[in-house]
């Protein structure tokens, strides 16, 4: 699967989930239609999105998605057409939420970010785990081998549904051992 698209350069660290989507927009029960709230909690967020209306890849600095567990952060990114975030590090919960929603959280060395913030477009091959800039330069990255499958086929809930019988068997063993 290739994610190819324009880059939204988000040149800041510690973009927290309150900046991605403020809490007062968490009042729904569905996962769709949240893109209109994306980055409304960020100073200059609306201008940045307006300047890059068709971007599908975010390049940013360390600790992206820190703070709240709200999956609304991932849902609002997906709804605006984002399919990948490239950063030196991610907060754990956002990292898991991204994989579970078809957003590739791509970790690259912090020294690469300055250059990546300047490229207009990126092509990301999720299968071969390579990222190609318009000048042809290629960066390798590593995806979590299990969660990569959530991106490429099926998703998290389908995987979990397939585990139910194994979990029941394990639990029966545990209860047996306890008696």
């Amino acid at each position: 699967m290739i994610v190819e698209g324009n880059v939204l350069p988000l040149d800041r660290a510690n973009v927290d989930t309150d900046q991605i989507i403020p809490a007062h927009f968490l009042t729904g029960t569905e996962t769709t239609g949240l893109g209109k709230h994306l980055f409304t909690g960020m100073t200059g967020g609306a201008d940045l999105l307006a300047a890059h209306p068709d971007a599908s890849v975010i390049v940013t600095r360390e600790n992206f998605g820190c703070g709240s567990s709200r999956e609304h952060a991932a849902w609002s990114l997906v709804d605006r057409g984002f399919r990948a975030v490239v950063a030196p590090s991610f907060a754990r919960i956002f990292f898991e939420n991204a994989y579970n929603n078809g957003i590739a959280p791509i970790v690259v060395d912090a020294s690469e970010i300055d250059a990546l913030l300047r490229v207009p477009r990126l092509s990301i091959d999720l299968e071969s785990e390579t990222l190609t800039a318009p000048d042809g330069s290629v960066l390798r990255f590593e995806l979590d081998p299990l969660r990569k499958q959530f991106l490429l086929s099926g998703g998290y809930m389908a995987f979990m549904a397939g585990k139910r019988e194994a979990v029941r068997a394990w639990l029966a063993q545990r209860q047996l051992a306890a008696t």
Partner: protein, 455 residues
């Protein structure tokens, strides 16, 4: 092989190892609230025949905006309510509810050695019981409701050894802020913070919950405190806990849930608790905190300074505040309210001050002690239990540029309202600041002895 506390709990819950260092980890308890549960519940209803792995392992709590403030939040509460009723899930609703991280333990749903997941990042609070308690997204929570498990990368373990005893007006909140300020806002990422050291024995369950609550603010997976007599006393006789021999047999089992003396850790951190002073945040993440006697650091992040309208070298005690808030999953338990009341007794607040108990049970306990009179006599607002102004989702929202001294856990830009500025502190410091109209501590009011007595 010697094991850490975390390893003991983890190893007892791994159903199977998965590719890439992941594991399928069994979840003993799911705590479900109205903001992040409906999405996963509705997916299970639509695509998986509405079949839950085990409804008896789930406890549901309407907590963030309860009672509902508008049609949308009323629908969230209704979805949770209808779902709980349909599956026979215990629900704490308007009248008996509060913040899920306060209600779940006080109702006896959290035990040592347990694994627990909730669609809320501050679930780490419950690691105070020696549980592995994890904040997760809605889909991950949904997976736990569907299949009883989480997919997790095994975290590394950092031992945080706490030596000495809190004194000089320092509280568990100041300890929590110190941990985050020491590690930095992302310094705990990938780690479980396993607390150790002789200071732990002096901390109550309320204080341990405050400490563990802020593990996520250092990016940590969660925090954990091994169970001891304080833990067992808290749980003994509590509702939803067994009684008599059954409970004591559990205690005997829980006594094994301590780190082995020669367990190895991926990283070590030591903190001399005796040296701590009250802490206050100056910036836009909880790691940007310094002792209250200090100044905004010279090397402060310019973006944080701009947002907070502060300059390096500014003494914290000179910063005027427009609002004060005492509450949240960090500091809304009865001991927090006592600490604030001891400062406010016989004094008057000079700025709008909101006091929000963490649960209706805390509210009633406080009222039996007359704390509601203390707050209201001082001119503060005494509300029903909820997350309150902490995340700018319901009441008490800040105006752009307004500054709030707050006993909460996050000072992110816009957290308590677009453009609003938040300074994090302990309930005692918030109360003193509410009187002074600027950041200040109880000792400025001659009230430090009272804070010590409350501990």
């Amino acid at each position: 092989m010697p094991k850490s506390l975390f390893e003991k709990v983890w190893d007892a819950h791994v159903v199977e190892p998965l590719a890439g260092g992941n594991a399928l980890v069994f979840v003993d308890r799911v705590v479900a609230h109205e903001i992040t549960t409906p999405q996963g519940a509705l997916e299970i209803e639509r695509r998986y025949g509405d079949e839950l792995f085990d409804p008896a392992r789930i406890v549901a709590i309407n907590d963030h905006v309860s009672p509902a403030k508008d049609t949308e939040t009323a629908i969230q509460a209704k979805v949770l309510r209808d779902w709980a009723k349909r599956h026979g899930i215990v629900l704490y609703d308007v009248g008996q509810n509060g913040i899920c991280h306060v209600v779940a333990p006080e109702r006896g749903y959290v035990e040592p050695g347990m694994t627990l997941a909730c669609g809320d990042s501050h679930t780490c609070t419950l690691g105070a019981f020696g549980a592995f308690a994890l904040g997760v997204g809605s889909t991950t929570q949904g997976g736990a409701m569907l299949a009883g498990c989480l997919v997790l990368q095994r975290p590394k373990v950092m031992r945080v050894t706490l030596e000495g005893r809190l004194q000089n007006g320092a509280t568990a909140k100041d300890l929590a802020l110190t941990v985050v300020a020491t590690l930095g806002f992302k310094g705990g990422t990938g780690y479980v913070l396993e607390y150790a050291g002789d200071a732990l024995a002096t901390l109550s369950m309320d204080e341990r919950m405050t400490l563990c609550n802020m593990a996520i603010e250092a990016g940590a997976t969660t925090g954990m405190v091994g169970p001891d007599e304080t833990t067992y006393s808290y749980l003994r006789g509590r509702e939803n806990q067994p009684t008599g021999d059954t409970f004591e047999r559990n205690v005997a089992r829980w006594r094994a849930l301590v780190a082995d003396p020669d367990a190895s850790y991926d990283r070590e951190l030591r903190i001399d608790v005796s040296a701590l002073r009250p802490m206050v945040s100056w910036g836009t993440n909880p790691g940007e905190s310094v002792p209250i006697d200090g100044v905004v650091p010279a090397a402060a992040n310019p973006e944080s300074l701009r947002y907070m309208d502060l300059e390096p070298g500014r003494a914290l005690r000179t910063i005027e505040v427009d609002q004060a808030f005492i509450g949240s999953c960090t500091n809304s338990r009865i001991s927090d309210l006592r600490a604030a009341a001891d400062v406010l007794r016989g004094r008057t607040v000079s700025i709008p001050t909101i006091v929000t108990p963490g649960s209706q049970a805390v509210k009633r306990a406080a009222e039996r002690e007359g704390l509601h009179d203390v707050f209201q006599d001082a001119g503060a607002l005494w509300t029903h239990s909820s997350c309150g102004p902490c995340l700018g989702m319901s009441m008490g929202v800040l105006a752009p540029g307004a500054r709030c001294i707050s006993s909460t856990n996050r000072n992110f830009p816009g957290r308590m309202g677009t453009g609003g500025r938040v300074h994090l502190a302990s309930p005692a410091v918030v109360a003193a600041s509410a009187v002074l109209g600027r950041i200040g501590s109880p000792d400025e009011l001659g009230a430090v002895a009272l804070v010590e007595a409350a501990r």
